[in-house]
Symmetry: C2
Subunit: 509 residues, 2 copies
């Protein structure tokens, strides 16, 4: 608009179009569909991929143009992608006006970063604000992410990014001045400590309102696993009631928009298959701060096929996380753990839930590694509270678990969330056997996770696999290495075929 | 496909869909439109933005998925963007199969570059080959470009990129073993030396088969200007005939696919508003080499509002261009010229054409700067040929111009290209006057170019502006600084309003 400062009345009317919902989902990118012979298109010189301002008089969004040469849009109409219609708050038949986009101011800052300049807090706030408002195209987001990878973000920049992300989403606050949380820097199948840690810590009287995610690329997220035992899609009010009553909860974070920019950045990172470490730190810590947490334990599993692959990288991450935590007033303690093999036996929502219940019930079949890992994290949280001195946290956690108090707390939390249910068991199973005698020498966690996914996890909650071959174990030819679980024969076959076609998921020497 | 190594016959049929042309132009990015309730979508776990392999049995392309929730696509159908249908060679009703995309191998190399590793020639060849094949999404292209900006490409990398770009497009060859060419590193309005240089050089007996571009963001490209005087959309065979007969031509390069990757990269650079210098060098030199040129003069105008803004940058560019030229066996000479103000008087296709004719005809009203610049470049080309010794090229160029031989050559080239015509004159004019007495102190070339564009250039060929206020000129209040030319009153008003709303296009002190 500023581009044509004295636009006449007629020109304004010319740029008016009626919305048509053509039902195209372009994920988060706003797309405007205009006819190639549309007068507005012609007079404004719009071509495919032009960035355009779309307004309904009250609200404006920025969209990328796709030009339409068919009859799916009539003269005088324009289509908008589904997300764009929601953002602008329009429906079929509503009037919109379109105009050229002046360059987004904050993208100049991204461009400066591309050319090696450091971003200050104000610039990061502008950028994040524009991303949250859907004003960046995927191309612009990819440029921003690319200029942030490879340790290209300084500690100050990560701190600025974290603050900006905190300020763009919702914020929670709690009755207690001390609020605890835990997080795991993913990548390890079966590492489902959260429900156990929450139960122990809440049973000790600390407040731990835990929101968890569903699986993005893994066979199960904590929310998927918890959902096989209790409802997790709670509103903020429902969540608050559970926490006020029981001190803790394990709910799905998706209904709470704690850091909306995060999802947008992650979708582009996924498309590029890159992790920006700085952005990951900002993502994790901003969500914790926005959730009202004051003390956070972060589990960093290290292993060749885990997300963090070396001790050195883990220590660097540890330093960064604790420093940024300090800068934003969050007490962060990181724990570097073994990421060389699955934690627990089950991989997949229900199978992991059974593992959790075995640990909480002190069953003899319970996974030793899952139990130990959960106790370690719970003990560290207890000590972080200052109410248990160093070295006493673990003993307290063990006591609460062995006495059955943690299990009781877990059942009460499930009841408060809407009622406990037993996780299902899959109909079909297939045993993958050792083809020779020897010792388990290495495990490819990523490929193992893929087998569980092909078996149907997480969409079919009972699917996945049970794993019996920890590192160092001696096996005979014909011993079961793992059992694939599936809810249909087709999926069982898919997973089995894949597992048999890939060598060395588990190597025996 | 490799992902499900033992896909059954039924599954293959399941993944079969019928193409529907829904007429959506997404520019160069291939988009596949599938119904949200499509069985293939559901069974394969496709979601919006998934990258998918689409095949018709003979050919395969890679596309990004957009999910459709409306009836524009029926059950069993899938839509493809216009470019994607062309690439795959399918029409409505044809059968296609879709499957998950294994990660593109060459993008691993881009990722390595993002993390600071240098790319070798083989990697660059793979990347460029995949980009040419349309196998990169816009997100991936943006990441590649971002990792190449800010002098992030070494000389070896620029050379590798240049070679890769030469090898992906068509190549021309000529009867002469010496083939001359010129190029200008854009950004300066009215700098239309090409037709004059070609006429002089061809009149001296050298071969100069010039292909030029149309305007992308400027008020006129050389092809637009030339088209007001003769046809420029020649086939390669037609162009060859002109060159064999006259030694030179000035045609539009768009029908020749000399470096198809270039257009793709430029579309994303435009969206990001960045120039990757290394990529620009590769782009220019690969096109020259692919066009069969052996000797190239490159004009680098330097000025505060030109593309290259400092002498230092120009010298760096000069060094890079000459080095890469050497590495690929092309003799490159760069000339740094004054880019502080427009060259010639006209800005816009026909107005620039009149300037060219005035120079060629040795008219007294001819622009001195355009004449001098053209003679300098032509003289340098003559010397580069080795047939005129250093210092003799300019004199030869002057002689050919003043004798009328250059004008005769130009007219013969126009006739050979399909016939000379007089460039048109615009119906409407408006004089922008000096509001006080003084000396012209600075000129904002970019804003001046925008005025010409708002007046209708290059779409309305007679539109643009005539410029009468070179640096250092003394003007009185009321003197004409420039005249806006337009083919409609509306456009004249647009341009005039804009010009009056922006201060200091031309500053008088």
């Amino acid at each position: 608009m500023a581009r044509y400062p004295r636009m006449t009345k007629e020109n304004q009317n010319l740029n008016q179009l009626r919305v048509k919902n053509i039902g195209i989902d372009t994920y988060r990118e706003n797309i405007l569909f205009m006819r190639y012979d549309c007068e507005v298109c012609l007079s404004e010189g719009f071509t495919a991929l032009t960035r355009i301002v779309v307004t309904n008089g009250k609200k404006s969004i920025i969209a990328t143009l796709n030009v339409v040469t068919s009859e799916i849009i009539s003269h005088g109409e324009a289509g908008l992608s589904i997300e764009a219609m929601k953002r602008l708050g329009v429906k079929t038949g509503d009037s919109i006006r379109v105009s050229h986009l002046n360059p987004i101011e904050s993208f100049k800052k991204v461009r400066a970063k591309m050319y090696g300049n450091e971003l200050n807090e104000a610039s990061l706030a502008e950028i994040v604000n524009d991303i949250a408002g859907g004003r960046y195209s995927n191309i612009e987001l990819a440029a921003f992410i690319t200029s942030c990878v490879n340790k290209n973000l300084s500690l100050n920049e990560i701190t600025g990014l974290t603050k900006a992300m905190i300020n763009t989403g919702e914020k929670l606050n709690w009755s207690s001045s001390l609020v605890f949380d835990k997080h795991c820097v993913g990548g390890l199948p079966g590492n489902r400590t959260t429900p156990i840690v929450v139960s122990i810590v809440a049973a000790c009287g600390l407040m731990i309102p835990k929101t968890s995610s569903r699986a993005i690329t893994s066979p199960a997220g904590t929310a998927d696993t918890m959902e096989t035992m209790a409802p997790v899609a709670l509103t903020i009010d429902q969540m608050r009631k559970v926490v006020e009553a029981e001190g803790g909860c394990v709910v799905w974070g998706g209904t709470v928009q704690l850091s909306p920019v995060d999802d947008i950045l992650i979708s582009v990172e996924k498309a590029l298959n890159v992790d920006s470490e700085g952005q990951m730190i900002a993502s994790v810590l901003s969500k914790k701060a926005a959730a009202g947490s004051t003390h956070v334990i972060i589990d960093i599993p290290v292993g060749e096929t885990a997300k963090v692959r070396s001790r050195q990288s883990a220590e660097y991450l540890q330093h960064q996380m604790e420093s940024v935590g300090k800068a934003i007033g969050l007490i962060v303690k990181t724990i570097i753990t073994d990421g060389s093999q699955p934690v627990g036996k089950g991989i997949g929502p229900a199978l992991e839930a059974h593992d959790i219940l075995d640990v909480l019930k002190n069953n003899t079949v319970a996974s030793h590694t899952l139990r130990e890992r959960s106790l370690e994290l719970a003990g560290a949280l207890l000590e972080l509270s200052g109410q248990w001195s160093e070295g006493k946290g673990l003993a307290q956690a063990v006591e609460v678990l062995e006495s059955g108090k943690a299990y009781q707390k877990f059942m009460r939390i499930c009841e408060a969330q809407g009622g406990f249910r037993l996780p299902p068991r899959a109909k079909f199973q297939y045993d993958v056997l050792a083809d020779h005698k020897g010792m388990i020498a290495s495990i490819d966690n990523r490929t193992l996770a893929r087998v569980a996914k092909l078996a149907g996890a997480p969409k079919s909650p009972a699917s996945g696999l049970e794993f019996y071959a920890p590192l160092g174990k001696h096996v005979d030819k014909g011993d079961v290495l793992y059992t694939i679980h599936a809810e249909s024969e087709g999926e069982l076959l898919y997973a089995r075929n894949y597992a048999e076609s890939v060598n060395h998921i588990i190597s025996i020497i």
